[in-house]
Symmetry: C2
Subunit: 310 residues, 2 copies
Amino acid sequence: MRILITGGGGFLGSRLAQALLARDPAAKITLLDVAFPNPPDGRFTAITGDLASPDVFARALPADTDAVFHLAAVVSGGAEADFDLGYHVNLDGTRALLEACRKLAKPPKVVYASSVAAFGGKLPDVLDDTTTPTPQTSYGTQKVIGEYLVADWTRKGMIDGRSLRLPTIVVRPGKPNLAASSFASSIIREPLAGVAVDCPVPDTTGVWILSPRRVVDAFVHAYDLPASAWPTSRVVNLPGITLTVREMIDAMATVAGAEKAKLVRFVPDARIQGIVKTWPVRFRTDKALEMGFKADESFEDAVRQHGNAG
Amino acid sequence: MRILITGGGGFLGSRLAQALLARDPAAKITLLDVAFPNPPDGRFTAITGDLASPDVFARALPADTDAVFHLAAVVSGGAEADFDLGYHVNLDGTRALLEACRKLAKPPKVVYASSVAAFGGKLPDVLDDTTTPTPQTSYGTQKVIGEYLVADWTRKGMIDGRSLRLPTIVVRPGKPNLAASSFASSIIREPLAGVAVDCPVPDTTGVWILSPRRVVDAFVHAYDLPASAWPTSRVVNLPGITLTVREMIDAMATVAGAEKAKLVRFVPDARIQGIVKTWPVRFRTDKALEMGFKADESFEDAVRQHGNAG
């Protein structure tokens, strides 16, 4: 079993790599990323490169590759700030990966990380499996286009694709990043570490959430499911839970003490609010639940999960 | 007023050019196409070139261009038969056009010819403005991706985009082409000219139809509408009328005589049927009607329209 994880230097990619190796110690796992802040151990092959550079897949995708987990992307705030970079990596890079998959010995399974940023603008109060994507960011646009490419490459028998629309992943470890959703983790992570943090959105802001452990489970489950379990679009909205920023902070206080909550200051940021306010907050995810994907039991679990991992 | 029409050598592009010049005789209209079977008269500038070739827009899109009508595409059957060519022209070409639009003196209006091939597979009996595109062909996939690009470029203020999902255009003049929908015109056009014709689909096959005159009107109307009339997706399903192949042939008989109907032979073609059976047949087009787009009064009108033009 040979596997490529794009974005394998990132937090989700590296956790996914660990999970895949734990279930199949003989797996040969290559991690591709533009940088490896924490170099992987010797059980993994790390390749540094840009998704859309001409030769990267000649190195990262040997002909006997069985599966690709495509997580690499310029995140929402980054793709909004740098239009060309976003299209270069998120569209051209995805296309280049799919083209490279056509050259493999057999059509690989491709699990593609899409996003609820696919949705935006004037939305129903509760989205469901029939809601049409209307992204209000370039990142969301690029993710939706990637879904359509994955579906068409699959229909043509070039890959066996599976696209997951990820909720906002909370609690992310590490440092804040350019994702507009970065605050959703910072307001938990920083106080848990005893550090004050600015929250750029009002505490009434709703967020559609999945924990890191659950999303890694979802990638593995998406891989395991038979092709017949997927709709022809090959896309599914993952289950999540809905909380307001206030409810998130309260849950943290329940787990870690009321003093922690006082470390969150509200400092409005119009740019972040402008992006986040277009995102969906509530979903019915009947299809995903029927397919066996699972949401978190509670946000307190996600907070404890971060405490235990950190 | 300077206007570019891609696909300007084609039947719709050349009729649109005539219509635009008729309403504004001072307009400078450039026609871009890979070939001009009927070279345009001296009032138009014809440029031969491939949409996705590096320098074509340096020639076809002067900085003072005000509007682009983007009709050029590898048609459905062609894009299905040649996967790479379809993506090259329909995706890379559209992207190259949009990139070139960023270099203009001011954001141009871009009217984009999309298609009901955006829809396919398991569909409701009657589609409406909320139906999510699920294309079952590479052509349909490329058209939907183009819509999302047009919407994102518009959101960023780089163009003022308007996408029209065209029904099957009947009666097309000229010769059969690689479009899987080509039969829908051939079964009328050839008998009207006294020529026998093979119909590759059963006579119970439904088709969602708009006449050439109405679609040219729709392009002009899409151009004329204020930006505020458009949804943020900038996409609309054009109105049409639904007929079975049998009803189309009967209408031709009504207009031109029963003998004509006998010139249609049914010769099943599995490849064509495989594409056509995934297409939608019935729509509610409330949004388009509210915006002032119009369907044909009857199919007999479309048959007479062809007779008069020919």
